[in-house]
């Protein structure tokens, strides 16, 4: 503070010192970031290299470039006798799984989020509390019980069944996030719609929904990512190869620890991750929206 009133003669000296002082935080910042990020970079670099080489010398040095590990893209991989299903079937199934999950999640979440955020009805507080608390349930510990229910519904060994389960497990969180976005829509807009001749429902889908598009985008991304990498539920409740997804395909590759082909595994892992990675890079702006408004929404 006092520097401002110092005589002008002193100014250059102060400037150089403060320049260094100002840089130090940045040096520390980049330094910390660099050091902590290095292991991750190494790990994934290793994954990339091993997918393109026949063997890793001393574990880290790739030898002999090959595309052999990527052969699953054009043929059905055959490993010691057993022929694996086509990767494209798995990709398609993963896509369908994540896609349907996302659509369901968004539709149900948006409806519930709106009701919770904007409507007054008996039991509202209770449902909100419940929503908030539900995610505390060790959902995976419910697996066995979920099996009885799926079985009762005749949905065991069907993608639809798992989609429903997964949707249900995520819906409290989704509804809550969406509720946050609805909370941020000015009441004025909704009132304007009412006065302009809409009923409550119409206001909702002609005015409010378009406004919370960023929120819907964020939730869609979350759901899609979650669906794309879902493993345990698919693995437990889906049997037939027709319903194989990328995560269960990957599991097939490592099922016998004696026979893991690491090059192939790396390649399939990358194949599995790349769409998500691209998806993330393009959508991260929307993802960042989630906590816009001081994270109130989340």
């Amino acid at each position: 503070m006092e520097g401002i009133y110092e005589p002008k003669m002193e100014a250059p000296k102060i400037k150089t010192v403060s320049k260094w002082n100002a840089r130090i935080p940045y040096i520390i910042a980049y330094g910390t970031l660099g050091i902590t990020t290095l292991p991750i970079i190494l790990m994934y670099l290793w994954l990339l290299m091993s997918s393109f080489s026949t063997q890793m010398k001393h574990g880290v040095i790739p030898v002999e470039f090959t595309l052999e590990n990527w052969r699953f893209l054009w043929t059905n991989v055959e490993m010691v006798g057993s022929v694996y299903p086509s990767i494209w079937t798995a990709t398609w199934n993963s896509f369908v799984f994540a896609g349907v999950l996302t659509v369901l999640e968004v539709i149900i979440g948006v409806m519930a989020g709106y009701a919770l955020s904007r409507m007054e009805f008996p039991g509202r507080q209770g449902i909100m509390k419940m929503t908030m608390m539900l995610h505390a349930f060790p959902s995976v510990a419910l697996l066995i019980a979920v099996f009885f229910i799926l079985n009762f519904m005749g949905l065991f060994d069907s993608l639809l069944g798992v989609i429903l389960v997964k949707t249900a497990l995520q819906i409290p969180m989704t509804a809550w996030i969406i509720k946050g976005f609805f909370d941020d829509v000015p009441w004025d807009l909704e009132w304007a719609g009412l006065i302009d001749g809409c009923n409550r429902f119409k206001v909702w889908y002609t005015i409010v929904i378009p406004i919370i598009k960023p929120g819907i985008a964020a939730v869609s991304i979350f759901s899609f990512l979650a669906g794309w990498s879902e493993f345990l539920l698919l693995y437990t409740f889906v049997l037939s190869d027709d319903n194989i997804t990328l995560s269960t395909y990957l599991q097939k590759l490592i099922s016998d620890p004696n026979l893991v082909n690491y090059g192939l595994l790396s390649a399939v892992s990358l194949f599995y991750m790349i769409p998500v990675l691209i998806f993330f890079i393009f959508t991260q702006k929307s993802l960042m929206q989630v906590s816009a408004g001081g994270g109130k929404g989340v």
Partner: protein, 304 residues
Amino acid sequence: MKKSKFLINGMRKHSLPWLMLAPFLILIVIFFFLPIILIAVNAFTDMDSALQWTFNGIDNFKKMLLDPNMPEILKNTFIYVFFTLAINVLFGLVLGLLTSYFIQKESVGLLFRTIWMLPRISPPVVYVLLWLWFFDPSPYGILNSLRALVDLPPGEWLSSNPKTAIVLANGMIGASFGMIIFSSAIKSIPENLFQAAKVDGASQWSIIQDIIIPAIRWPLMFVTMWQLLSLLTSYEYILLLTGGGPMVESEVLSLYSYHKAFESFEYGYGSAVSLVLVVIALGFSAIIWKVFGMKKMMGTSRVE
């Protein structure tokens, strides 16, 4: 007469919200409430691989008290949740600050954020395998290979520090969650606040302390609470990374219930452990609820 009219009005008025909530509630009832009831009932049976509901009173809970592993598992659970949570929140905050405040260049920030998202968007199986390869105690492990380059003997990591390993592996995943939430919160702080602070001669540290932290107080609390509950009930990565071992050194309560139910097929006992976990988690939510004053978030409707 009047009352019935009131009722009809009430029903009409409230039917829309219930209609909109219906799919949500149906899903929750079918896939949360019913399973919870089933688990609660199951906890009093000795269901095993034959999947028969034979009631055995509170035997499962007695067994839990006698279980010599229990004290260590509880201790592990506490250590695991506490330290992972610390990494999640603190390191997530550091990352958020670094990538969205210190690094003004959007492309660089994006690059680092993307790298840090890798663990999160990797399929768990792949992520864990990378860890296993990285820390493998044989000379072929990545870390040991690197050590060999500078003539260090192979070290061993996972089995001597299993808890550290699961905390770090989970911490790295959770940190990215914090990072995303905090980054976006920091980005939503109005630019002129920083300008004002700089004009007032604030140091970087004081900007962080006096402007950023208070502004993201809510997301901070949110992440803490969310992660606390998630960590308490998740075990996928531990299962894949150490399987709870060696011995029970990295076994946590949720994993124990999985092991009991799906590895030794003691579904009844596993359900009992789950039930305890559910109760603990609910207790935590209730406490957090109180501390947070969650009611503030429940604004009332402004259309009638």
